[in-house]
């Protein structure tokens, strides 16, 4: 088994959860209701929990004595492999829920496949995460419905968010080299298997929410190969601030 590819593969999954949690964490205390603040924090906590499991495992595979925090905080921007979708900013609550929903539908389909991985550790992480992720999907899906159906203003805002975020959905299914080798080994998830299901599920809910399914076929990609949006540098400068300013310390 190609250790480097397995490592890269795990990192790319972990980074999605980490960066999305980071975005959700920015919102804590600033949401439209106390209940949504609590739920958003819950989701962030679940994602951080998953991320820690992945990084711990990746560090073990790498075998260089690194910790979960070395991997989470001390890489260069180009070394983060999260999809562009999760780094998009919290422009308004419709964006936050739209981003979450477009990711959650993918995430649950992904976890259901990861469950069957030949890699027992990854399968175990998936098993633990599935319940959490199905809750996330229900929560974000319900909000997309509420906002899509609610008022004229909310419908417009939700539509605008979905239209913009749509461009980042195709990248979810990209398979860089590490993915391909790991799929061949029966370790990684073949995302193409459920791409159609993804768009069906998303479209069904959007219609139910009185929203248009975007028709645009222009997609933006890059995160999975480490080419991020301009937002990423700022996310990292916050996230890495302590570890960079005070190197080699324990907290």
């Amino acid at each position: 088994m190609n250790k480097k590819h397995l490592f890269d593969y795990i990192i790319s999954i972990a980074d999605n959860s980490l960066i999305l949690a980071q975005r959700l964490g920015e919102l804590c205390g600033h949401g439209p209701t106390l209940e949504t603040d609590i739920a958003g924090t819950n989701i962030a906590l679940d994602l951080i929990g998953q991320t820690r499991n992945y990084y711990q495992y990746a560090a073990q595979i790498q075998g260089e004595g690194k910790t979960e925090d070395d991997l989470a905080f001390l890489r260069l921007e180009r070394e983060y492999k999260n999809v562009l979708l999760v780094e998009q900013p919290n422009e308004h609550f419709g964006y936050v829920m739209g981003r979450q929903f477009l990711f959650d539908v993918y995430h649950l389909l992904f976890m259901n496949e990861l469950l069957k991985s030949k890699d027992e550790t990854l399968a175990a992480i998936a098993k633990k995460g599935i319940k959490e992720v199905s809750y996330h999907k229900r929560f974000s899906g319900d909000w997309v419905k509420r906002l899509g159906d609610g008022t004229e203003e909310s419908n417009q805002k939700m539509q605008e968010a979905i239209d913009e975020l749509w461009a980042y959905t195709d990248e979810l299914f990209d398979q860089p080299e590490a993915d391909k080798t790991m799929i061949a080994e029966g370790v990684a998830v073949d995302t193409l298997k459920f791409k159609e299901t993804y768009y069906e599920e998303v479209s069904t809910l959007l219609k139910e929410a009185n929203l248009q399914v975007p028709e645009s076929k222009y997609f933006i990609r890059g995160g999975k190969t480490g080419v991020h949006s301009e937002f990423m540098g700022y996310i990292l400068s916050d996230m890495q601030y302590m570890q960079r300013t005070y190197p080699n310390m324990e907290w």
């Binding site: 603040d37 979960e68 302590m242 570890q243 005070y246 907290w251």
Partner: protein, 318 residues
């Protein structure tokens, strides 16, 4: 009701409290009791949610994944505290929207401690250790207060606050056993949070209003000065364990009274912050009002959606 009858009811009411019975929302209560409870409980609820902001300020910069998760969980607990306290308040016939309106207009107060900025990671330790620590001292006696919903909320809240207090102490402990820079960071945080934490226990007894009535209703069981002394006596040995110096040159053990003597509190600073002129008052209020205003379309949408769903259900039923 005649004045005579009201007087009778009041006597029965006070006697129930004296017998340690709980007053429940549906029970008869004097108007003043209701108002006082709305004021105190909502002030407490507001403190919980404004208190999310200074710590929320460090979620995106927490130094490790473990600390990030713990901080998120802590801020989430505070939101939960806000939620039970608002709900307890609502049992007295006031809506959450009205309570928010009072906070946003400046009519209602919240704990002044949250008007200080969190400038380093060590502030997360100092807040947990000192601010949650002082909150516990204030709140433990309220677990036996006379109003049932408040007392029950406090039991749950206090359990979580003591967890926060230990977690804050543990952050400080780690810093104090780390590098010299980390230890300096911890000392600096203690220097900045010590005096505001003492002020958290309220104005000195000579200047404190509402106390006598509050004692009778078990909203208050000890005076502010007694609580403050208790906090100092409890916290100084903890600072010793950490190897940190309390920033008070007059602090000294008094063998005779069996407690610490301490220096003069700068009450001018206290009143300045209470009156809205602390370092972060404006920022905190802008954040709360901003979240509320920017969230209005979301709340409206949720309401409209719920109404449509209800209407559809009715249609189907017919």
């Amino acid at each position: 009701m005649s004045n005579e009858q009201i007087k009778n009811l009041e006597e029965i009411f006070e006697a129930r409290i004296a017998r340690d019975e709980k007053i429940e929302p549906k029970d008869w209560m004097p108007e003043k009791y209701r108002k006082t409870h709305i004021r105190q409980m909502s002030q407490h609820a507001h403190s919980e949610i404004v208190g999310m902001l200074p710590e929320g300020n460090w979620i995106s910069r927490a130094p490790s994944l473990r600390r990030k998760a713990a901080l998120l969980a802590k801020v989430q607990d505070e939101a939960g505290h806000g939620l039970y306290l608002y709900s307890a308040c609502e049992t007295l016939g006031i809506s959450r929207d009205e309570l928010y309106e009072q906070l946003h207009s400046g009519k209602a107060k919240y704990s002044s401690i949250f008007n200080y900025p969190t400038v380093t990671w060590a502030d997360m330790g100092a807040i947990g250790w000192l601010v949650d620590g002082a909150a516990i001292i204030n709140q433990v006696p309220l677990c036996n207060t006379s109003f049932g919903p408040y007392a029950r909320a406090m039991v749950r809240v206090c359990k979580e606050e003591s967890f926060h207090q230990r977690q804050g102490f543990e952050i400080m402990h780690k810093l104090c056993n780390g590098t010299p820079e980390q230890k300096d960071m911890a000392q600096d945080a203690l220097n900045r949070w010590w005096w505001p934490s003492l002020m958290m226990l309220g104005p000195t007894d000579a200047e404190s209003i509402h106390t006598e009535q509050s004692m009778k209703w078990k909203l208050k069981r000890k005076s502010n000065d007694e609580l403050r002394q208790q906090f100092i006596d409890q916290t100084v040995p903890q600072a010793d364990v950490l190897g940190l110096t309390i920033p008070d040159k007059d602090l000294k053990w008094n063998e005779e009274k069996g407690s610490y003597d301490f220096g003069e509190i700068d009450w001018d600073e206290f009143w300045q912050v209470v009156k809205g002129h602390g370092p972060s008052n404006k920022k905190r209020m802008k954040a709360r009002v901003g979240a509320w205003e920017e969230g209005a379309w979301v709340r409206d949408a949720a309401m409209a959606h719920a109404e449509k769903k209800e209407a559809n259900k009715l249609k189907k039923a017919i």
